[in-house]
């Protein structure tokens, strides 16, 4: 009674299920291919050395995007200077010093994990409310007699806002890297009479370095691509000069894409420039992500070798 049906239906089910899920996967591949293909096809012809090294001209319809590249790099460098020490120190503190079962430690971990899911626009609000309005205006009151210097959107506030946004990335990656360092190494170091700090700096951190680097690169890639957090904290559409100090505004690639595609008076004239800008932004983030992947796989191999 069950015999024939049993051998037939399962095969049909397998065909249906593998086709259905395979279709989903194929669609995802197609989406990525279409987006990348469109951007590369339309953006590549315009991407010349002059485009990368010149300032925009004639209402963004000619010239290049150098100021936006410069602003993006400046933003990301400042952000890294802020987030890397803070994030790595926090991770070291959490995994090497803090009592893992203490309520505070667990609370901090939950907070870090949840920070990763907070929408980037909320970080923009925070940057405006805290850095610009509170810290910046406070500095102005204390040092500049109320004159507006730091109490307005500026490169430094955008960088710090982005640093807070990427903080969880660095903390989580560093903690993971620290946890992957075999306990025996710590024990061996302690047995040689090294203090906890010596163990951390000479044994644990060198071992965890690739993991920490991976986190840093992922944070940089995220910081280079995000736009929402800097909307109110320092970015500008067009500036005649490059930012010369921390309290200047700056141009940025992502924001450039946003403004060019939404507020351009002549879409057809700006389209080639727009596509080339998108391509530059994509190449930048992909290059960073690819580096992170390579570093990570190297680290995996190293640990696989160490434990074998």
């Amino acid at each position: 009674m069950k015999g024939p049906a049993r051998t037939k239906i399962p095969r049909l089910g397998d065909v249906a299920l593998s086709l259905g899920t395979g279709l989903a996967a194929a669609l995802v591949l197609l989406i990525v291919a279409v987006i990348l293909g469109d951007v590369i096809y339309n953006g590549a012809p315009r991407m010349t050395l002059a485009f990368l090294t010149q300032a925009p001209r004639e209402g963004m319809t000619a010239g290049g995007i150098f100021p936006a590249i410069f602003g993006t790099v400046a933003l990301v460098v400042l952000m890294t200077l802020a987030v890397l020490p803070a994030g790595v120190a926090t991770a070291i503190y959490l995994s090497e010093y803090a009592n893992p079962s203490a309520r505070v430690t667990r609370l901090v971990r939950v907070a870090v994990n949840n920070l990763a899911g907070v929408p980037s626009i909320v970080f923009g609000l925070f940057g405006l409310g805290f850095f610009v309005q509170f810290v910046g205006a406070g500095i102005d009151r204390a040092l500049y007699g109320g004159q507006r210097v730091f109490g307005q959107p500026a490169l430094v506030w955008a960088a710090l806002t982005m640093a807070v946004l990427t903080l969880p990335v660095v903390i989580v990656a560093t903690e993971e890297a620290l946890a992957a360092v075999p306990r025996e190494l710590r024990l061996a170091s302690a047995a040689l009479g090294a203090s906890r700090l010596q163990t951390i700096f000479r044994v644990v951190l060198p071992q965890a370095l690739p993991g920490i680097l991976t986190g840093a690169i992922l944070a940089i890639s995220r910081g280079a691509g995000e736009v929402a957090p800097i909307l109110f904290t320092g970015v500008a559409y067009f500036l005649p000069k490059l930012p010369g100090s921390l309290h200047d505004q700056f141009m940025q690639l992502g924001y450039h894409v946003y403004v060019l595609s939404t507020q351009s008076p002549d879409v057809d004239a700006t389209r080639p420039i727009l596509y080339a800008t998108v391509l530059v932004l994509l190449l930048l983030t992909f290059a960073l992500n690819a580096t992170a992947v390579v570093v990570r796989s190297k680290m995996r191999r190293r640990f696989a070798g160490a434990t074998a």
Binding site: S18, A24, A25, I92, G117, L125, Q133, S195, N289
Partner: protein, 349 residues
Amino acid sequence: MLVGLAPPTRSALVRPEPRPVEASDPKNHRHAERPRLASRRPKFHALAEVAIRVLAFSSIAAIILIFVFIGKEAWPLLHDSVIGKEVTLAKMWFAQQWPGYDAPEHVWQPVSEIPKYAAWPLVVGTLKVTLIAMLVAVPLGVGSALFVSQYAGRRLREIIKPTVELLAGVPSVVLGFFALMVMASWIQQVLGLDSRLNALVAGVALSFAIIPVIFTVSEEAFGAVPHSYVEASTALGAARWQTIVRVIVPAAGPGVAAGIALGLGRAVGETMIVLMASGNAAILSASPADSVRTVSATIAAELAEVVFGGPHYTVLFFLGVLLFAFTLATNLLGEFAIGRMRRRLGGMA
């Protein structure tokens, strides 16, 4: 505040000793034989450890400050009498009778002679775009995760997984750009819609940002199902698809749910895509072909031009609190689901 911390100068694994003169107390090592490693201990160490602690606490403080400062800027909405003349919570959530309108209505017009701050058009707009995004992203994300973990051969897997990672690395402003410049025209041509930018375009573009989230978490969940489950099911005579549908999917269910919850949080909070592709008209309607204005896009579009501390500013921060609260809830839900799956599989494996 923090219990269980060893004082800075004590070495890693040495327990505190009650008696003062002990070999394990580093203070007494100074003139005794001791390993050379320990020679530069005192001043530098104390300083370095203080530095670690200061940095750690400042980043923890930053996390706490986010909660504090967004709330602080939104707080006047609840009690300030000057702001209360223009907008209150009740005015935001209940239909108001405005001059020139026949009946009470929900209107978001913060920059007009009589500013109107109805939240419903924005909330409904956000939910509409999110729903469309989830309807696209859940089948594609979970489906391709299932395919990769169950059916795909090694070579296919090594194409699909990096491609999804690639998609995850695409900045949202680029997805917004693509939706605005390319997809909007396609969708308009195919469906013959009136408005080029609408909830459908924004929702589909938004799904591209969420697919990687759902895929990654789901794929991990499918992979975490112990092999013994599959063996047991196969031993009972189940076919591959029967094992997948009746054993693997239910076992990985909480993990998949976690992925969906995280994707939902991301969808609701995502800003640049909807800002660029939704048309940004605050219309209260259920049609996916209408232009919409989401909560996040409203904040992004309006905050730059408001008076600091004014009613509009306060309302935008209040919307930020709403976003924050919602994503916090979805994150906690996701974390709870993952914990549950871990406990369940841990208990049975």
